[in-house]
């Protein structure tokens, strides 16, 4: 049928290919993708700008207050990924999951993009000129002590500028608020060691006894502590592997990694600490007279009865602490969250004195030689003071920055209502969170990845350092501003002459750094530009040989009294432990979807809240996984799904913090419940801090049940007899050949 002269072209014509063959072959090798026809080329470029080759800039992470240094990978002018900066003594090149999500904060679709002025129940976008003018106007005729500033922790030049602005207004009302900061531990440390935050040398310790200090999770500087933990497990200086003992009422991720996790009756951590000191004495460790007197009645049987930890276990702990030195004893959020939290922490800190750890694993932290830049740390007592002032109508103008108290304060405090009593409320925010929604004026902030600044971390892991923050790319949204730039504009309203030389915050920073060039490592660099660029490029200013705060060796046992374990409350039988997890913390980063989808390390639950109940208690109450239970405290109630969890004391239940947003963005709103709301207003007697663990609740089934959305399968962490994650005991394993 086929003629040999039959050309392919004619053949196809005969077939009547009509479009069929075109569909098969027409996808176009080498055709230009539609919509992408224009090549983005440059007008002028720098030499280092090579398309498809990444450029790296150093900056400082702002997802929490630890102050880890980051290196951003930038392609064609956009930051894509954050890595740790190996040069920082704090994070040594590592990042946590929260740090990784910094890019999601920067590119978040729910960021506020323009200044918003309240008109009724909506916000009208206005210009920055109008916003500044409005602030100026509202401050007229208002005296300095009627103006209040609520911020989170602050340090560096922004803190200085903020202080100067307040000064120009004649206001001394700066309330530094942290919802979950270790404020009680800071105060206890000050009493026990002479400094609020000494340096903890976990890597050097042979035993770490942690009373609820979640140092691998969300406590103080987790990336640094994780690095040290790895060293600790390997054993340093020829020593064997370190031993971790965790004592708490609800298992944290640090507890999950412990060699021995001890469930302790909520609130009795201090009693256990004194019991261990008593046992140490019984084991032959010499105890100073005043401490021995204080612990005389805390024999192991009494302590075992009070705390629920067996006498045998107390003996074992004392034995291993005596044998393996130096050790390190940490008091964490679990210990401090009670009305007697300060006493708990003081008792725990005593152990370090008895064991001789002060000066060995508890060291003096280095201090940055610029005290004005030193960090302001926050606490909940500050919020209480502000709240009381607002309730009394003391403040006419309120500035809010870096905090979300409408979300993180107990509903019983009525902060939202009290905030409304101020005439003019300005909130500096990246998102329209719960507090921003109560503002009269919302001023949109730059993200940390597009802003300038300096940061001094509270926890100084190595030598003193000042962290530099520089933009990793051009501003994403034209109408956001850096906090430094906003403060500079505001202060120019009052001190124009003094601040005239600075066009912007960048100029102010540069001038400030150059002014102190010699002290900041530039003594041998005569060229200012080179020094400035080198400083920015390194991202960290290090101070070798900086002064160290000195530690006191006074033990402070005097006056230490611990209350007896709290009696059972028939109406509210369970202790509520609101849990701080590493990613969500106090809820400031909940609108970052990677964090919402990152399974909780203990329960593997995502995108929702849950209440952890011990299997014994759950059986008693007839609760199974997924039951919606109503959790009621004296101050409020909420409904949440139940999760049966063995790592919690049967008299306690736990709900994670950070979810339950009613605003803030599409990834945060409507997911989970907010246990902050139902907390009782009970305070630590010594510091006035909100006692986060003192709330007692009752739970009851509602009759509804849901399927819990979690990563673990229905087998729920059971290896089913397979060798998936075996373990080796120290008396069997040979670690000597490991590298």
């Amino acid at each position: 049928m086929m003629n040999s002269e039959f050309d392919r072209r004619d053949f196809l014509k005969v077939l009547g290919w009509g479009g069929t063959a075109v569909a098969l072959t027409g996808c176009g090798n080498g055709m230009v993708e539609s919509g992408k026809e224009t090549v983005v080329s440059y007008v002028e470029t720098k030499d280092y700008m090579i398309p498809s080759v990444s450029v790296y800039f150093n900056s400082t992470c702002a997802q929490c207050d630890a102050g880890c240094s980051i290196t951003g990978r930038i392609r064609e002018g956009r930051v894509l990924k954050l890595e740790g900066n190996p040069e920082s003594a704090i994070n040594r090149g590592k990042t946590c999951g929260l740090g990784q999500a910094g890019v999601q904060n920067h590119y978040n679709p729910d960021r506020v993009r323009a200044p918003l002025l309240r008109t009724g129940n909506t916000g009208e976008a206005i210009t920055w000129e109008k916003a500044y003018a409005l602030i100026d106007e509202k401050l007229k005729g208002v005296s300095g002590n009627e103006v209040a500033f609520l911020t989170g922790g602050m340090s560096g030049h922004t803190k200085v500028l903020m202080g100067n602005y307040m000064d120009s207004l004649g206001s001394k009302n700066h309330f530094v608020y942290e919802a979950i900061g270790p404020a009680v531990v800071r105060a206890a440390n000050k009493k026990s060691y002479g400094v609020e935050m000494p340096r903890f040398n976990i890597g050097k310790a042979r035993v770490v006894l942690s009373f609820g200090a979640d140092f691998l999770g969300a406590w103080v500087s987790p990336v640094n502590f994780s690095q040290q933990y790895a060293q600790f497990r390997k054993g340093s200086g020829g020593h064997q592997r370190g031993v971790l003992i965790q004592v708490e009422s609800k298992m944290t991720i640090t507890g999950a990694n412990a060699d021995r996790w001890l469930a302790v009756r909520p609130g009795t951590e201090g009693i256990l600490a004194l019991g261990i000191i008593n046992a140490l004495g019984a084991h032959g460790v010499s105890i100073p007279g005043d401490i021995a007197a204080a612990v005389k009645t805390y024999d192991k049987d009494r302590v075992s009865n009070d705390t629920g930890v067996s006498a045998e276990q107390i003996d074992k702990i004392a034995a291993i602490l005596k044998e393996r030195t130096p050790s390190l004893v940490l008091a964490g959020s679990a210990a401090e969250g009670y009305a007697h939290g300060s006493q708990n922490a003081a008792a725990i800190n005593l152990l370090n004195h008895v064991l001789g750890n002060v000066g060995k694993t508890i060291e003096a932290a280095a201090i940055v030689p610029f005290p004005q830049m030193a960090p302001l740390t926050g606490n909940t007592a500050a919020l209480k003071a502000l709240n009381d002032g607002l309730a009394a109508g003391k403040y006419k103008v309120l500035f809010s920055y870096g905090s979300n108290p409408v979300f993180t304060s107990p509903a019983a405090m009525k902060y939202k209502d009290n905030m409304a009593k101020a005439d003019f409320k300005v909130v500096f925010a990246q998102y329209l969170d719960e507090t921003a929604l109560q503002a009269d004026l919302v001023l949109p902030l730059d993200s940390a990845l597009e802003d300038w600044g300096t940061q001094v971390p509270e926890y100084m892991a190595g030598n003193a350092q000042i962290n530099i923050r520089q933009p990793l790319m051009e501003k994403l949204h034209a109408d956001t501003r850096g906090m430094g730039d906003i403060l500079l504009t505001l202060i120019k309203q009052r001190r124009a002459a003094e601040y005239k030389p600075f066009d912007d915050y960048y100029g102010y920073l540069r001038a400030a750094v150059l002014q102190n060039k010699a002290a900041l490592g530039g003594a041998n660099q005569p060229d200012n530009d080179i020094f400035w660029n080198e400083t920015l490029s390194k991202g960290i200013i290090k101070f070798e040989g900086a002064k160290h705060a000195s530690l006191s060796v006074k033990s402070g046992a005097a006056g230490l009294t611990l209350p007896a374990p709290s009696a059972a409350d028939a109406e509210y039988p369970l202790q509520l432990i609101p849990h701080v997890n590493a990613n969500l913390r106090d809820g400031r980063n909940t609108n970052q979807p990677w964090l919402q989808e990152s399974p909780d390390p203990l329960t593997t639950i995502v995108w929702d809240s849950w209440i952890e109940i011990h299997p014994k208690k759950a059986a008693e109450l007839g609760i199974v996984e997924g039951d919606i239970v109503e959790v009621t405290s004296k101050s409020g109630s909420l409904k949440v799904q139940a999760y049966i969890f063995p790592g919690i004391h049967p008299d306690a239940v736990s709900i994670p913090l950070g979810r339950g947003h009613e605003a803030m963005g599409r990834y945060a709103k409507g997911y989970g419940v907010n246990p902050f709301q139902i907390l009782d207003m009970i305070y630590d007697k010594e510091t006035g801090e909100l006692a986060l663990h003192e709330t007692r609740v009752k739970i009851s089934r509602t009759g509804n049940r849901v399927i819990v959305v979690k990563d673990e399968g229905p087998v729920g962490g059971n290896q089913e007899g397979q060798k998936i994650v075996p373990e080796m005991l120290t008396n069997k394993v040979n670690l000597s050949k490991e590298i």
């Binding site: 049928m1 392919r8 098969l24 026809e37 224009t38 080329s41 007008v43 090579i50 398309p51 498809s52």
Partner: protein, 258 residues
């Protein structure tokens, strides 16, 4: 009978169309283009001037007789004359090295379109052509600091990782072939064009054709060529009929598919 014939013709047609798409006519004996440039390039040059019916255009576009094919003529904001810049002296060109402008080719995945600064770098001193219409357009972009919206001529799908660096490093710096020839393997004889026009099919088969050519692994004397004694290939180097140890180019999927 007729309906049966028609049906079988139709089915046969489906088969042939399908196979032609899948097979993409690889050559049985891949030929190293060599130093002088091949007949393929000549044919490409001829084809670039072809007119013809839409159908014949379609055929030349998609139905390969050889490994080269023609893309559509792409209209650029400024009709840049490659022949003036890269062309031979005796044709009025300046023989500028391709990589003077497309400077990233030796160190990046992409060759790069030069920034406007590159053009101005020379043209700010060339008074003779300063008032030509296209030069005036160029300076208009420069004065406004606006980037010239060049249109893409060569594109590969997003799932392909093509590295210009690897190819330039191999052919120009290791094998010491002339730059114009190396660029020409895929981009054709650009020095005869004004604006670039796609000369080759740029399909996977086009790339694989070259990657299947067996190259000597070592130079005479056993010295690895270009200091590299390893080849990304699923098949080990073998000694062929000529007695030389030869291997192919990378043919592991993950080298090009990201």
């Amino acid at each position: 009978m007729h309906s049966f014939l028609r049906l079988s013709l139709l089915l046969l047609g489906f088969f042939v169309a399908g196979i032609s798409y899948a097979a993409d006519t690889p050559q049985s004996n891949p030929v190293d283009p060599g130093v002088d440039g091949s007949a393929i390039d000549k044919a490409a040059r001829q084809k670039s001037d072809s007119g013809g019916s839409a159908f014949s255009d379609w055929i030349t576009k998609y139905w390969a007789e050889g490994p080269d094919n023609i893309g559509p003529a792409v209209k650029q904001p400024i009709e840049f004359p490659h022949f003036r810049h890269a062309g031979d002296h005796d044709k009025g060109g300046m023989e500028i090295n391709c990589m003077y402008c497309h400077t990233y080719a030796r160190r990046s995945l992409v060759a790069g379109i030069p920034p406007v600064q590159k053009c101005i770098g020379c043209h700010q001193s060339i008074d003779e052509v300063r008032n030509k219409p296209r030069i005036k357009k160029l300076f208009a972009y420069w004065d406004a600091k606006k980037s010239i919206p060049w249109k893409k001529v060569h594109d590969l799908p997003d799932f392909v990782r093509f590295s210009h660096e690897r190819h330039i490093q191999r052919f120009v710096f290791q094998l010491n072939r002339p730059v114009q020839e190396v660029c020409g393997y895929c981009h054709g004889n650009v020095k005869t064009m004004t604006v670039a026009r796609r000369q080759k099919l740029l399909s996977m088969g086009f790339c694989v054709t070259c990657h299947e050519i067996k190259h000597p692994v070592t130079a005479p004397g056993g010295i690895p060529i270009g200091n590299q004694a390893y080849w990304y290939s699923m098949r080990k180097p073998v000694i062929d009929a000529s007695g030389i140890l030869k291997a192919q180019g990378p043919n592991d999927c993950s080298v090009c598919h990201k």
